[in-house]
Amino acid sequence: MNYEAVIGLEVHVHLKTKTKAFCGCSTEFGKEPNTQTCPVCLGFPGSLPVLNKLALDYAIKTGIALNCQVSEFTKFDRKNYFYPDLPKNYQISQYDLPICNDGFLDIEVEGQPKRINIKRVHLEEDAGKLIHKENKSLVDFNRCGIPLLEIVSEPDMNSPQEAYEYLTLLKSTLEYLEISDCDMEKGSLRCDANISIREKGVTVLGTKTELKNMNSFKGVKDALEFEIQRQVKMLENGEKIIQDTRLWNAQKQETFSMRSKEEAKDYRYFPEPDLPPFIISKEKEAQLKKSIPELPREKSARFMRDYGLSNYDAKILTYSKIDALYAEECLKAYANKEKKLMANWLIGPLFSEANNRGCNLSELKIAPDNLVKLIGFVEREEISNLSAKTVLTEMINSGNLAQSIIQEKNLIQISDSGSLEAIADEIIGANPKSAQDYQQGKANAIMFLVGQVMKKSGGKANPKIVQEILKRRLENA
C-alpha cells in the first residue's frame, strides 16, 4: 500500500533577552548551578512575576516574520503540573489567546515551493534542569524562567525532508531576527514532532504519536523516518497505532514509548491572575514591523536577481544572516559580471574553513578585497586552484596578504611548457600502465597522470597545460 506521512512540528526557542521572562535574573548560559536565581524564578512564596517587555516584543516580531496575525489582546495562563524542575509547580504559559496565530512559512522541497501553515506562536517560561547523580537528584534553576517561544505548525508536512526544510528555514528566520541563538546543543532550540500516516488520497487523519528528545535537525529527520517505517509496519501487520509520546534514542536509532494518551496530564489551564492581560496596539505592531530585516527568502531571491546566482547558491549563501552579509560584500567587491566563481569560493573553501574553525565567514578575517585579489591570481592562471586553497588557509592563519604568501612560498604556477614536458615524460615513463589505459580509450586514466605531475611539481604546475601536454604526448606516441 502507498502511505503518506502527516507531520506537525512544535519548536521551542530561548529568546536572547539579557534577563529572564518574569524577573531580573541573567539568562547567561553555562554559569554555576543556581547562581542566576531570585525569589521570583525560584517560585518563593509571595513573589510575583513581571513580564520582560523585550520578550513580548521578540514574540511579536517572530509572529510578523512568520506572517502571523498579532493578537491585539493577549494574556498568560498557568499550566499546572508537578515536577521538581518547576518550582511553582505551574508554568506561566499561554493557552487560548497566544500572542500570534495563523501564519505560514514558504519552504522549498526539491525545487518545489510549499506553504507550511503556522498555528500559533506563544510565550512561556522555561523550567530548570535536573541533574541525576548516583542516587541523588539535584536541581539547577539557572534556566528556570528564561523566556521561551513556542512555535506550533499545522500538520502540513508530508515527509521528513519537508520537516527538515521547515526547521532549517525557521531557524534561519529566527536568526535573522536576532531573537535567539537557536543552538540545539545548548538547548536554546528544541523540537517535538507529531506524526501519523494514512493511505495516499485519504483525507482522514491517522492516529498520531508525539516524538521527543531529538537533538539535531538530522535527529528529527531520522526519528521521523524511523517512526514512519514503524507505523507502516504496524498497519501492514493489521495492528492499531496507539496514541503515545515517544522518545528518540539517537544511538539505537529508534523511538520508544514514554507514556500513552491515557496517562496524559490534565494541565488545568486558567488565566494567570498575577499578570493582567496585555493590549498590543496597532502602532506597536507597525513599529516592530519596521524593525524586521530582509528575511532569508527575500535575500536569497535578491541575490539571484542582483548577482545572477542559482537558486541553490543563493539559498546557501543566505542561510545565515551574518554570512550573507559577508558574502554580499564579496560579491560586490568582485568586479566580474559573472559571479559564479566568487560564489563557488564562498560556498566551497570559505565555508569549509569556517566550519573547521567553528566560526562564521566574517570571523575568518579575510577582507573581501583580499579575497578578490586571491581569486584574481587563479583567474590569471598564475597559481593553481589547489595552491590558492593553501594560500587562503595561510591568509586566515597569518593574516598576511595573498601576494606575499604566493611570493614567499614560490607558488607561481609553472605554465612554461618546456619544464612541464620534462616532468610529463618522466611520469609517463614511470606509469606505463596508466599511459596504456588512456591510449586504449580509458579517458579517465589521464587524470591520474595529471595528479602525478601536479604532485611532482609541488602543486605548482598549471593543470590545464599539464593535461594538454600529456594528451599530446600520449596521442602522438
Binding site: P39, F44, G46, S47, L48, N80, P87, K88, N89, P273
Partner: protein, 481 residues
C-alpha cells in the same frame, strides 16, 4: 496611662514631643503581651517575642517613627519566620521583605511580634484553622476572633498591638475587625502591593490595616499604599494623604442600603444595630436610600470556585523541594514524597480547598464552574458599578452575626463560609471597604458596620467612617481582660 493603651497617632505625638520613646512603647507592648496573650493567643511565637532593631530614622518620611506594627503570618519578613500558620511552611524564613514591610521600615516603624495568628493560608473565618491553635476573642475568650486575620484583630482589640497588617481575600480583615471591635480596611484591588504576601487567591487578595481608630488606619494606609513595579496588578494612581479625608462631615453624601444584605440569615440584633448606625448618619446629614444588588446571592458560590481554583494552583509550590516541611518518612519515589509531605503538611481546610479548586479547573468541568464563575463575577461587579453611579457609598453589616463560639462551626464548613456572605462581594468586585465598630450585642460582643465605595475611593470610606466615629463612642470601648 500605659503606652500600649494608646493609638498610633497619640504615640506619634508623644514620641515627637519626646514624652515617649520607641523603646518604651515596645517594652510596654511586650509587657502587655506577656500579661494577656496566654489568654488571647493572638501571636504564634510568643515564647520568642521579636522586634526588629529600633532604627533612629529622623527622615521627614519616617511618619511611623517608633510605632510597632504587628504582621500577619502570611506577609514575608526577611529572615523572620513566615509560615502562614501551616505545618507545611514550618521554619520558613523568607530571604526578602514584602514591599509593605520595606515601606514600613522606611517609615521608621518597628516590625513587631513573631507573628499574628491566622487560619492556615487564610483559609477560614475564625482563626481556628491555625496549625498553632485558635486565637480567642478578647471580648469573650470562648468566642472566635473571626478570621482569617483573627490574630491581628484580637491583638489590636486587646492592646497587644498598636497597628497590624492583615490580608483580606473574602473578608479576612473586615470580619475579624467587626468581631473584635476594631477598624479594618480592605483597600481597592491594586492599591497596595501584594509582593511578599503569600498568595491565597491572587485576584482577590489585598493587604490592609487593622487599627484602633480610623485615623490610625489612614496613617498606615499612607505608608503602605502605592504602585509597586514588582506587582503587575498594582495600579499606578497617586496616593492621596488619607488623613486629609478625616473630616467630621457627611452632609449631602448619598448612602445606598442594599436590601439583599438584610434578609434571611441576619441576626435581628445585628440588623437593629446597623439600622441605628444608618439613622445616626442620616441625622448627621447623609441621605440614605434602599437599593438592590441582585446578584448578591451568587457571591458565595462564585467566590468558593474562583478562590479555591487559584488557591489550588498557588499552593502547588509547597512540595518540599526547596523549603518548608518535608515528610520524615523514607519515601520510594517523587510522587510519594509529594503525597506524604502534602498529606502531613496541610490541614483539613487547606486540603478541602485544594481539592475543590483542582476539581473546578479540571478538564470537562472548567466551563461549567470556573468560566461561569468568572462571568457571574462580572455581573456582581456591574451591580456595584450601577449603584455607584448614584451613590457615594454603600452601607451593610460586616457579618450576619457577632462572634460565635470556638468549635461551633468547625464541623460545618458551609455554615462557616456563610459568615463571610457580606464581605465576599467586595473582593469579587475589587472595590474598597472598611469595617468599624458600631455597637455591642446584649452579650457584649462588638458589631461591625461595613462601608463600601467605588474603586480607589478609600477617602470616601475614611470620611464616612471618621464622621461616624467622631459622633459615637464605640471605638473607645475596650474588652476587660
Amino acid at each position: 496611662m500605659e503606652k500600649y493603651n494608646l493609638t498610633a497617632h497619640e504615640l506619634i505625638e508623644q514620641i515627637s514631643k519626646k514624652e515617649a520613646s520607641a523603646q518604651e512603647v515596645a517594652d510596654s507592648l511586650k509587657k502587655r503581651i506577656l500579661d494577656v496573650d496566654p489568654k488571647v493567643k493572638a501571636y504564634v511565637r510568643i515564647d520568642q517575642p521579636h522586634q526588629t532593631a529600633i532604627q533612629e530614622n529622623n527622615a521627614p518620611t519616617a511618619v511611623l517613627k517608633g510605632i510597632p506594627v504587628s504582621i500577619k503570618d502570611n506577609i514575608c519578613t526577611d529572615g523572620l519566620n513566615t509560615e502562614c500558620c501551616s505545618k507545611i511552611l514550618a521554619g520558613f524564613k523568607p530571604p526578602y521583605d514584602a514591599t509593605v514591610i520595606k515601606k514600613l521600615k522606611a517609615a521608621g516603624a518597628t516590625i513587631f511580634g513573631l507573628k499574628t495568628n491566622m487560619d492556615e493560608f487564610a483559609f477560614g473565618s475564625s482563626t481556628e484553622n491555625s496549625y498553632f491553635g485558635p486565637t480567642h476573642n478578647p471580648w469573650d475568650l470562648e468566642c472566635v476572633p473571626g478570621g482569617s486575620s483573627g490574630g491581628c484583630a484580637a491583638a489590636v482589640a486587646a492592646d497587644e498591638a498598636i497597628l497590624a497588617l492583615g490580608s483580606d481575600t473574602g473578608g479576612s480583615i473586615r470580619q475579624p475587625a467587626a468581631f473584635c471591635g476594631v477598624v479594618g480596611l480592605k483597600p481597592t484591588y491594586g492599591r497596595v502591593s501584594r509582593y511578599g504576601l503569600i498568595a491565597f487567591a491572587s485576584s482577590l487578595d489585598q493587604i490592609g490595616p487593622l487599627a484602633k481608630d480610623t485615623r490610625d488606619a489612614a496613617l498606615l494606609m499612607n505608608v503602605i499604599a502605592g504602585f509597586d513595579p514588582l506587582d503587575s496588578t498594582s495600579v499606578n494612581i497617586e496616593v492621596p494623604d488619607y488623613t486629609k479625608a478625616l473630616v467630621n462631615d457627611v452632609k449631602g453624601l448619598r448612602i445606598a442600603v442594599p436590601k439583599e444584605y438584610f434578609v434571611e440569615g441576619i441576626d435581628p440584633e445585628i440588623k437593629g444595630t446597623i439600622e441605628e448606625a444608618i439613622n445616626k448618619l442620616k441625622s448627621l446629614g447623609a441621605e440614605c436610600k434602599d437599593v438592590s444588588l441582585p446578584n448578591t446571592q451568587y457571591a458565595v458560590p462564585v467566590y468558593y470556585i474562583i478562590a479555591t481554583a487559584e488557591a489550588s494552583s498557588n499552593l502547588a509550590r509547597f512540595d518540599a523541594v526547596q523549603y518548608g516541611y518535608r515528610t520524615a518518612d523514607r519515601v520510594k519515589n517523587l510522587i510519594e514524597m509529594y503525597n506524604r509531605t502534602r498529606g502531613e503538611g496541610f490541614g483539613e481546610e487547606a486540603k478541602r480547598r485544594v481539592i475543590l479548586g483542582t476539581f473546578a479547573l479540571s478538564h470537562g468541568y472548567y466551563d461549567a464552574y470556573y468560566l461561569r464563575a468568572l462571568k457571574v463575577r462580572t455581573l456582581i461587579k456591574e451591580d456595584f458599578d450601577r449603584v455607584f453611579k448614584d451613590f457615594d457609598c454603600i452601607l451593610t453589616p460586616t457579618s450576619p452575626t457577632a462572634a460565635f463560639k470556638i468549635g461551633e462551626k468547625v464541623k460545618d464548613p458551609l455554615k462557616m463560609y456563610l459568615s463571610d456572605i457580606y464581605t465576599i462581594s467586595v473582593n469579587l468586585a475589587g472595590i474598597p471597604a472598611i469595617s468599624l465598630p458600631c455597637g455591642l450585642t446584649k452579650k457584649g460582643l462588638p458589631v461591625g458596620l461595613q462601608i463600601l465605595a467605588k474603586p480607589f475611593a478609600e477617602e470616601m470610606l475614611f470620611r464616612m467612617a471618621h464622621t461616624y466615629e467622631q459622633n459615637t463612642e464605640w471605638h473607645k470601648l475596650k474588652p476587660k481582660l
